[in-house]
């Protein structure tokens, strides 16, 4: 088996909770939000890993920590054989070219006062990959490539002239101009109209083929995950609860939470859905994490064991792992 492009081992990110003045004076210990609490996964070259979960599960923090846009509390991030966990900002810069991020909100991810052409050309200048004129040429080609034509006209426009979908194309162009080997797409389509999602996903897919690019595709919508991901990771409260090939996870979800996520997705093809496993409530606060299995307060199958012992990831099928005491079969 070939060496994975990205290897994440036991990654943790805790954020301290701000204490009030009175609490600080009374020496109340600092509490932590355990946003990401020990996750491990690998991504092969050209592979798309879909990271699925509800808001508050830590998926966004995970994506940023992997790129070291947020400093990890513990764990190791190995990119193409190099441990990048402890690299200095200067040492990290060459890696910045090779890994990129696409954000959820196309409105705030572009500077309102930078021409979109310049926004796309700038990364090339930053990494010394092209001189000014050449960078402009490449940016123009990129605009055409992402479907913003006539490209000369779009080059000089400012973000507020563009619709959400068009802006997201600019954001993608800016990330792709560096020909990254790995990209984190953080809810890249969730703020875009459903009717436009497919075309954005197609665009990402075409770049994956062209650059043999790996992706960590973060989304709360498992239906989007199905379209783009080779494998799916489901996260709940900072932990991975299930991981496996997309087909397998969607057909035979082993974790009750995964099953609930799948059932909650509206579908045209299956209008009258069966809802065997109902889960209620919302993701609890990551400061007060439940004992045992973190999902047990919402789980219809929970028993004494679930309340007491935290389940480990175990293999239930080929490359299919689940952390549950009572996996569904």
């Amino acid at each position: 088996m070939s060496e994975p492009l990205l290897k994440v081992e036991n990654l943790k990110k805790y954020f301290p909770v701000k204490r009030g003045i009175i609490e600080a004076l009374r020496k109340v210990p600092v509490r932590y939000v355990r946003a990401v609490d020990g996750i491990s996964f690998e991504i092969k070259r050209g592979e798309v890993l879909g990271l699925i979960g509800e808001s508050g599960c830590g998926k966004t923090t995970a994506g940023r920590t992997v790129l070291r846009l947020i400093e990890p509390t513990a764990g190791r991030i190995v990119f193409d054989g190099t441990d990048i966990t402890a690299l200095s900002r200067e040492e990290l810069r060459p890696f910045r070219r090779r890994m990129q991020i696409i954000f959820q909100d196309p409105y705030s991810s572009l500077s309102p006062r930078m021409k979109i052409g310049d926004a796309i050309a700038h990364p090339l200048l930053v990494h010394g990959l092209a001189e000014k004129e050449e960078a402009k040429e490449i940016a123009l080609k990129m605009l055409r490539r992402v479907g913003l034509t006539p490209e000369e006209e779009f080059y000089d426009r400012y973000p507020h002239h563009l619709s959400g979908g068009q802006r997201q194309r600019v954001v993608i162009a800016r990330a792709m101009v560096l020909k990254p080997e790995f990209v984190v797409a953080d809810e890249a389509v969730s703020m875009i109209d459903v009717s436009m999602r497919a075309s954005i996903l197609e665009l990402l897919e075409s770049f994956r083929e062209e650059y043999n690019m790996s992706q960590l595709f973060i989304t709360h919508d498992i239906a989007v995950g199905k379209l783009i991901a080779d494998r799916i990771v489901v996260m709940y409260l900072g932990k991975i609860v299930e991981i496996g090939p997309t087909e397998e996870v969607l057909k035979n979800p082993a974790h009750p939470y995964t099953r609930a996520l799948i059932q909650a997705v509206p579908s045209i093809a299956r209008r009258k859905r069966e809802k065997k496993l109902r889960i209620t409530g919302e993701v609890p606060n990551a400061v007060n994490i439940p004992s045992g299995c973190r999902f047990h307060p919402r789980c219809p199958l929970a028993d004494e064991l679930c309340r007491e012992r935290e389940p480990e990831l175990v293999e239930v099928g080929h490359n299919h792992f689940v952390a549950c005491h009572h996996p569904l079969r």
Partner: protein, 318 residues
């Protein structure tokens, strides 16, 4: 008929020109039915919903049309009478519940006030508020919470609870689940469904057609400020007649559908200068030059209860 909208047009008078937000919209809502308006952003679906409440935000103006609610034209009603109807007989919830909740007052306070302004006495209002919170599956102690102490889903439940205080005849829900996760979305949809079963008509607005199919009775599709197709869910899903409706259905990522999704090429037009003829013709694969680009199709009934505005309805089947 509970609600009848006739030939409604809403324009926005902005600095950069007149935006024709909605034009010539006619439809009706029956008692106890769930109708869903579907469209991309800028299609006018939210504009129409606001116009029905006679709550079009500035610089928008209702330039023509009638909104008949139980036979009375809301657009002609004096402010005082309109106020009596709004909040009591018809009410609205929004995508971001924070816009309708006061951040400085407790949830309970606001619920009680919503009722006392319509003449309910305070003790009764308090009792009812707690009952309503339970009705949307929130524990009674949330009564004393401030909006920021609640999650997005819980806030939306609170705004539904407030909306339901008087068992309105019509509830307009403008993308109430767009900012929420799927599981929470699902439970909000269930709550709305419960309201429908108790007799409230639901007027639901969304950009996601897959959300419409399970619980709605009818679907209305809007494009570029125009109503392009209206029909029962079965008619729309099994037998869409407008190319846009068909494209919209095929563009949605669906867990249970095999094969690829198909993106709709192009972008919605600028409503300051909408395309001539059929507004969808620049993006339509079936458009015929000389007809679709010059002549605007009529909105007509092609089978019982199934309306469409297209020169070649269902042409791909022939």
């Amino acid at each position: 008929m509970l609600l009848e909208v006739k030939n409604l047009s809403v324009y926005y008078y902005t600095l950069s020109g007149v935006v024709k937000g909605a034009e010539g919209i006619s439809f009706s809502v029956r008692e106890g039915e769930w109708i869903t308006f579907v469209g991309e952003s800028g299609s006018g679906k939210s504009t129409v919903a606001h116009a029905v409440m006679n709550l079009v935000p500035s610089p928008g103006r209702i330039v023509s049309g009638e909104v008949l609610f139980n036979g009375r034209n809301l657009l002609k009603l004096p402010g005082e009478e309109l106020r009596k109807i709004r909040g009591k007989e018809m009410t609205m919830i929004f995508q971001d519940p924070m816009t309708s909740l006061d951040p400085l007052r407790t949830v309970g306070d606001q619920m009680v006030e919503a009722m006392t302004v319509h003449g309910v006495d305070e003790a009764e209002a308090k009792r009812k508020a707690k009952e309503l919170l339970e009705g949307v599956n929130l524990p009674g102690d949330r009564f004393n919470y401030y909006p920021h102490q609640l999650s997005g889903g819980q806030r939306q439940r609170v705004s539904i609870a407030i909306a339901m205080a008087f068992r309105p005849k019509l509830l307009i829900a403008d993308e109430p689940t767009t900012a929420l996760d799927v599981i929470v979305q699902d439970s909000i949809m269930d709550i709305l469904n419960g309201m429908k079963e108790e007799g409230t008509s639901i007027y639901f607005v969304t950009h996601d057609i897959s959300l419409a199919v399970e619980r709605s009775d009818r679907i209305a599709v809007m494009y570029a400020g125009k109503l392009v197709e209206v029909g029962t869910v079965d008619q729309i899903v099994e037998n869409p007649l407008h190319p846009y409706t068909k494209a919209l259905i095929e563009a949605v990522p669906d867990l249970w559908k095999e094969g690829k999704v198909r993106a709709i090429p192009g972008y919605p037009p600028d409503l300051r200068s909408p395309p001539s003829g059929c507004r969808f013709h620049p993006r339509c694969p079936y458009a015929k030059a000389g007809l679709c680009d010059t002549e605007e199709p009529d909105f007509r009934e092609v089978e019982r209860g199934h309306f469409v505005a297209c020169h070649f309805p269902g042409v791909w089947r022939k």
